[in-house]
């Protein structure tokens, strides 16, 4: 009798821990490959760790150097910020615009969607970076096409003013994944809303601003955060296409971290740099989330009016 009860209890408690068994792989990975590195990099950022020897505590010295003596940092921050502010809005605006068009009961939508999505699956690869480097080089294809119209060779990648923009184009070229997400959000906007607005005599421009945009704001929020996170950490394009040049005009922040860590092995210094980027990204994300209740419309919250 007692035995049976014990058994039952035991099985129940086993059942209680069963889930832990399934998530165990993630838990191990989380502790060893996320949490520990996260803490360790915070610690390293206050040391002079340089691969060899033991890390020595240097207090805020790394941060002082970053903000007062390292000129590259300010340049990299500026360049990265400009890149993010060009690439993300352009990409999202274009993705939304095309998604709107495709939502107008377009015939052959499947083909368009596939074609537009294609660059997204290839965009991050070295092959595409190589292609970009060639297309936009001084005697590359883009310039030879422009010469038909009598437009002289443009220094797409060799001019410090244009190079960053050319890199942003590579990001915009990959608008497809954001577009697909927008498209599925647009499909969920109830058609009755448009119909009743039409009856009331609203123009399509007005419908766009007062129905479509408010209803897909959660998706805009999602896309914006995802794109910001990836744009701040853009590496391959700049590394392969321009190598950070000309005159460090495309020396994105990650390139700077990469150089400090894996070229000069200044692990402590590079960790400090990475925490500054983390801080900036957190600020951006927090501002977006904090202000989101001003501009993001949630369906379940809106019902109770």
């Amino acid at each position: 009798m007692k035995d049976k009860k014990f058994n039952k209890f035991n099985r129940k408690s086993l059942r209680h821990y069963e889930g832990l068994f399934y998530i165990a792989p993630w838990l191990v990975g989380f502790l060893l490959l996320q949490l520990y590195p996260f803490m360790a990099s915070l610690y390293y950022s206050f040391t002079d760790f340089a691969m060899v020897g033991t890390p020595k505590w240097v207090g805020l010295a790394n941060f002082v150097t970053i903000f007062t003596r390292d000129r590259d940092v300010w340049n990299s921050l500026k360049v990265t910020l400009i890149y993010v502010l060009i690439a993300v809005p352009l990409k999202l605006a274009f993705a939304l615009f095309i998604a709107m068009l495709l939502n107008l009961k377009v015939k052959g939508i499947g083909i368009f969607r596939t074609v537009y999505y294609l660059p997204s699956i290839l965009g991050g690869s070295v092959a595409i970076a190589v292609l970009w480097r060639f297309l936009f080089s001084r005697d590359g294809t883009i310039n030879s096409m422009l010469s038909w119209f009598g437009i002289g060779p443009v220094g797409w990648l060799s001019s410090p003013k244009l190079a960053l923009f050319t890199l942003s184009l590579l990001a915009v070229w990959q608008f497809g994944s954001s577009m697909v997400v927008f498209l599925s959000a647009l499909k969920n906007v109830p058609a009755e809303l448009y119909e009743s607005a039409r009856v009331d005599g609203a123009t399509s421009v007005r419908c766009f601003w007062t129905i479509t945009i408010p209803l897909i704001t959660p998706t805009i929020l999602f896309n914006m955060v995802m794109q910001l996170v990836s744009a701040f950490q853009e590496f391959t394009g700049a590394f392969v296409i321009t190598g950070g040049g000309p005159m460090k005009a495309t020396y994105l922040y990650i390139l700077k971290i990469y150089d400090e860590a894996f070229k000069y092995y200044k692990m402590g210094y590079a960790s400090a740099l990475s925490w500054i980027l983390f801080g900036i990204m957190m600020v951006f994300t927090l501002v977006i989330f904090r202000t989101s209740n001003l501009w993001v419309f949630y369906n379940d919250g809106g019902d109770s009016k």
């Binding site: 889930g19 399934y22 990099s41 969607r113 999505y117 660059p119 690869s125 092959a127 297309l135 070229w173």
Partner: protein, 279 residues
């Protein structure tokens, strides 16, 4: 009439956008048949003849001592185990989070979601140092072991959401038939969650195939280079006089992605949409 003109304009615009987007890819493909002089000298779109020299030479030369085939094989050595293990780990973890109650579940789940926002840049240096200490640098273990440990919160979340959509009554009836929790996973959940798992396979294959940054960090002997590093090596060593070969090998490098996309296009695009919706 006005409506017709409008539709015509819209289709023209959509087609124009498609042409502009595809132009670089088509151009690259055609350039592989051109001679180097043709690529630079003429602005003609079509090649004057069909020649495969660029493919043959580029494949043989690769970068330095190894052929492109070698780099391609290396890439498969990373992608196949990494994808396989990711599918297993994300399925287990997704199942655990969606079907069980256990101590600290809320906190652990919140932590998993928070790693979605954690930029890889912050953890990259200590991770590198750990792999270094374990002697894993210049092996494929830094790609394979994290995959076995469910390192993509994004994919776990996707699978989890999908499993949540499977009615729990099915679990109950399977239990009555004498299935244990692992049996339920294998015989019930996995077959029903196949679309989500296919998305995992595609996302991860593309990621590892195209991944440049991690390979750059962890692999340093050219014998072990995957295709991304191989291409870069070729670009650096060949310089300006063999763009035809570089383009040909770039086409070879993106071909597997294109094939995968062609085969699984439908479920892939749907996967992206559902993830977006859930987010």
């Amino acid at each position: 009439m006005k409506r017709k003109i409008r539709r015509f304009l819209m289709y023209s615009f959509l087609i124009l956008v498609g042409v502009v987007l595809l132009y670089p890819l088509v151009w690259m493909f055609l350039a592989t048949f051109k001679t180097n002089a043709e690529i630079f000298g003429s602005s003609k779109f079509l090649p004057t003849q069909i020649r495969f020299d660029a493919y043959i030479e580029g494949w043989k030369n690769g970068g330095g001592a190894y052929s492109m085939g070698h780099f391609l094989a290396n890439t498969f050595r990373i992608v196949i185990p990494a994808v396989f293990l990711t599918v297993i780990s994300t399925t287990l973890v997704g199942y655990g989070f969606s079907r069980f109650d256990f101590p600290l579940k809320g906190i652990l789940f919140a932590m998993m979601l928070s790693t979605l926002m954690l930029p890889g840049t912050v953890t990259m240096i200590p991770k590198y140092l750990v792999f270094n200490k374990l002697g894993w640098l210049d092996t494929y273990l830094p790609f394979i072991v994290p995959a076995a440990l469910g390192n993509s919160a994004f994919l776990i979340y996707m699978v989890m959401q999908f499993i949540r959509g499977i009615p729990r009554e099915l679990d109950e009836s399977a239990k009555l038939d004498g299935c244990g929790s692992f049996g339920i996973l294998i015989y019930l959940i996995v077959p029903l969650a196949k679309p989500a798992l296919v998305s995992v396979v595609i996302f991860q294959s593309l990621f590892h195939w195209n991944d440049y940054f991690n390979s750059l960090l962890y692999i340093n002997s050219s014998k072990k280079f995957p295709i991304s590093l191989g291409l870069r090596l070729m670009l650096d060593s060949a310089g300006n006089n063999s763009w035809d070969q570089i383009m040909a090998m770039s086409v070879v490098a993106i071909l597997p992605c294109l094939l995968l996309f062609a085969v699984a296009q439908k479920s892939f695009v749907e996967g992206v949409s559902t993830v977006g919706l859930k987010g």
